[in-house]
């Protein structure tokens, strides 16, 4: 007997990050995400042509708030974003996320010109595509990301992120200089759809939008994100064009701020080795979000990244297609 299968009537859009010389950029290779006509990794009943990608987070300035276990692997490059980027690429990174945290007023107050200059140096040092994350919605972010967008014309960055109250400037920068933009809304199907509509109303191409559903970390709101992502994805595969964008999740930032990754074994002996517990916290957050549909995971710890890359390989292994006979109700 054939199992009830899930037949999609829509396809997730393919978003391309990274401009090669053919696009007027200098990236060695572009990264593409999206393109599914099935639930995450359900390649037995639909297409999932592209592999989810892990982006290595590269802070623009010494991240003093990173805990010990997280700093340890980056000991040699901790104060130098360019060396840090090279370090990541040497370890197989195909995508980087430059975090311009230092542009925030209370974290260094770097000027837009300085941030753009750092971006230029990174682009010169490595050939992989880049996500550029601003210090958070507002005037400052607009300034900084606009300067970066201009400095990297042709490089097809992914700029993060546009929010409902503050999307026009980023959209304009994306259109003017040919970049993709993330659309961030707090864990809600309708807010997500609405922002996508607002952005495309400004003639921003829908295949340049990546949805940031604002994930919580494991144990801290993950249960909400997980379901909202599943619902967005079901609706998208059911044909809702304004939800057919791939997801990005800032896994590292959410995972490494929680208490459970920091408490030393001496204080809670039964919790086990702190370093590996922390790495697994990030892995577990990532793995569950992959099953909910994440296409880009921005992560921090090299061991967590390696384990998640391996998990993705396993999930992308050839599985036999099965013919669909019955169709499930969706939504």
């Amino acid at each position: 007997m054939t199992a009830p299968s899930f037949r999609a009537s829509g396809r997730i859009r393919t978003v391309r990050i990274g401009g090669t010389p053919a696009d007027g950029g200098s990236r060695g290779e572009a990264v593409e995400v999206g393109g599914e006509t099935c639930l995450p990794f359900h390649r037995f009943e639909g297409e999932m042509p592209l592999r989810p990608v892990v982006a290595w987070e590269i802070p623009d300035s010494t991240p003093v708030d990173w805990c010990e276990t997280l700093r340890e692997p980056y000991a040699g490059v901790f104060d130098d974003p360019v060396a840090w980027a090279r370090f990541a690429v040497e370890r197989g990174a195909r995508l980087l996320c430059l975090d311009l945290r230092g542009a925030a007023a209370d974290k260094g107050n770097r000027s837009a010109a300085e941030s753009a200059d750092l971006l230029r140096r990174l682009l010169g040092a490595v050939k992989v595509p880049l996500i550029v994350k601003g210090p958070g919605p507002g005037e400052r972010q607009n300034e900084v990301l606009t300067a970066c967008a201009e400095a990297a014309q042709g490089e097809r960055l992914l700029l993060a992120s546009a929010v409902e109250e503050e999307y026009k400037t980023l959209v304009a920068a994306g259109v003017a200089f040919g970049h993709a933009v993330t659309a961030e809304t707090p864990i809600d199907v309708n807010l997500c759809k609405q922002l996508n509509i607002l952005m495309t109303d400004l003639h921003f191409p829908p295949d340049s939008i990546v949805i940031d559903p604002l994930t919580g970390g494991l144990g801290y709101g993950l249960e909400y994100t997980y379901s909202v992502m599943e619902r967005i994805r079901l609706q998208a595969l059911g044909g809702d064009e304004m939800l057919q964008m791939p997801f990005i999740c800032f896994v590292g930032a959410e995972s490494w701020k929680v208490k459970e990754v920091k408490v030393p074994e001496e204080r809670e002996p039964s919790w086990g080795d702190r370093a590996r517990r922390g790495v697994l916290w990030e892995i577990t957050t990532a793995v569950s979000l992959l099953h909910a549909g994440a296409a880009v995971l921005v992560m921090r710890h090299p061991a967590a990244i390696a384990a998640v890359e391996k998990a993705i390989d396993g999930l992308m292994e050839g599985t036999e297609p099965q013919r669909a006979q019955r169709t499930l109700r969706m939504g």
């Binding site: 299968s5 390649r43 037995f44 577990t284 998990a311």
Partner: protein, 449 residues
């Protein structure tokens, strides 16, 4: 499959004898279809009617119980594919595995470590559920000894992992009376394993390669009279597992494949992080039992927290009762802190206040179970609401020092709150609850002295 009123009516005698309390058989059938009455009320129903209605009323995935007593494990009875449709009910049971090759001390240490792990988190006690004992040497006496050792070291129900009928029998005898799960029946030993499960009335894992074969094996076990089954479509890697578990869950819910309506089990193996990665995937996607083949204490908290997340009803945040909670031996001089009634938030904050060892009062505001920032953004945790809670509860009397500590993430409320609470001193606490102990020692101690 659910039967309609008319379908049920056709199974009834149609004599309208009224002994069921209804005027007609049809009326009774309608009530049955709406599940408002039980067929037992009709003394004349045929065996055929009972059987058909019984099957229709059974959940699509059978409830299977392992072990007994306080730590009994119950899995199955799921009703949906996606947790937002309803909720997932029976939490994935997590097992730590030992094997009969291990030195006795190592085996004991692992069983003790796994069975004693217990962490309170947001109103739930996170614990492992099962110990799996695996046979590796084909030696029945050795396997029995390992089973006995595991059983003596803890009260968790056991899974006996062997394909050798002789070893399984020795294992069941060593675990006598504790209703272990046998894993199990597969190619080559199915008949004998099924017979063992029947003889000892214990639940059984049936393992085939792929969906169809596994279900066929399960159906034959049912025919032989073994009903408490767990399925293992022992297919290769992560992709195949996701496929098979998804198809079996769908078949079960659609009742489209005989033998598919049982809970699913998987072994999460591999070195380093691999085993935990597999386990995490299983918890998300339809595993009712996950066996950690190489369990380590650092894996337990992340995996059990994921399970808590996936099995929490997303439509109903866990809440605590609003009110003033004393923590420790709190009196008039104790600090007063305020937060929301989201149980995770309450739990994080109260644990850290306890850790600070300074007796305190914690004012919990009714914010419909939302976190501090969510509630603030939704207008359910603002100066007015906090001020009202303080005055309604007459806190100016029980807190004569009139200082209130608010969460650091809502520092912006402090001015407004001081306006609304004349005579009070609003102190801004740290953002993360983990910093409460040092805040209490430094800032509070100074303010209070």
């Amino acid at each position: 499959m659910k039967l309609t009123g008319l379908q049920i009516f056709k199974l009834l005698p149609n004599t309208n004898c009224r002994e069921c309390g209804f005027q007609t058989c049809l009326a009774f059938a309608m009530k049955l279809a709406a599940r408002q009455v039980s067929l037992d009320a009709c003394p004349h129903a045929s065996d055929e009617a009972r059987e058909k209605l019984g099957a229709a009323a059974a959940p699509p995935i059978r409830l299977v119980k392992i072990g007994g007593g306080e730590r009994e494990v119950a899995v199955g009875e799921e009703l949906v594919l996606f947790r937002h449709e309803k909720t997932f009910y029976r939490k994935t049971a997590v097992a730590a595995q030992v094997d009969d090759r291990m030195a006795p001390e190592a085996l004991l240490a692992r069983v003790r470590e796994a069975s004693s792990f217990s962490v309170e988190r947001a109103g739930e006690t996170l614990r492992l559920d099962l110990i799996a004992v695996k046979e590796t040497a084909g030696d029945a006496a050795r396997f029995a000894a390992a089973v006995r050792a595991a059983r003596e070291a803890c009260t968790l129900p056991l899974i006996l992992v062997s394909r050798d009928p002789g070893c399984l029998r020795a294992g069941i005898e060593a675990a006598a009376g504790s209703r272990p799960l046998l894993w199990g029946a597969g190619d080559g030993n199915a008949g004998e394993a099924i017979a063992l499960a029947k003889e000892f009335s214990v639940p059984l894992v049936v393992e085939g390669s792929g969906v169809e074969e596994t279900a066929r094996l399960a159906a034959s076990a049912v025919e032989a009279g073994v009903h408490d089954l767990v399925l293992s479509p022992a297919a290769g890697g992560a992709a195949a597992r996701l496929r098979d578990f998804t198809l079996l869950r769908r078949h079960a819910l659609a009742r489209s494949l005989p033998g598919a309506g049982f809970p699913l089990i998987m072994a999460a193996g591999g070195d380093g992080y691999d085993g935990a990665v597999a386990a995490a995937a299983g918890i998300c996607k339809y595993a009712s039992i996950v066996v950690l083949e190489n369990p380590e204490p650092w894996q337990y908290l992340p995996l059990l927290t994921l399970r808590q997340n996936i099995y929490t009803d997303p439509q109903k945040p866990l809440q605590v009762e609003p009110g003033v909670y004393p923590i420790g031996d709190a009196g008039e001089g104790s600090p007063l802190l305020v937060t929301t009634n989201f149980s995770l938030t309450y739990f994080m904050v109260s644990t850290e206040i306890e850790a600070s060892e300074i007796p305190s009062k914690l004012l919990i505001i009714d914010a419909e179970g939302q976190s501090v920032l969510t509630a603030w953004a939704a207008g359910k945790f603002n100066a007015e609401i906090i001020a009202r809670a303080v005055t309604d509860r007459d806190l100016e009397k029980s807190v004569p020092h009139r200082r209130i500590i608010i969460p650091g993430y809502v520092a912006m409320l402090s001015g407004d709150l001081e306006d609304k609470l004349p005579g009070w001193n609003v102190m801004v606490g740290p953002q993360e609850s983990a910093d409460i102990p040092s805040y209490m020692k430094d800032v509070w101690a100074k303010a209070a002295s």
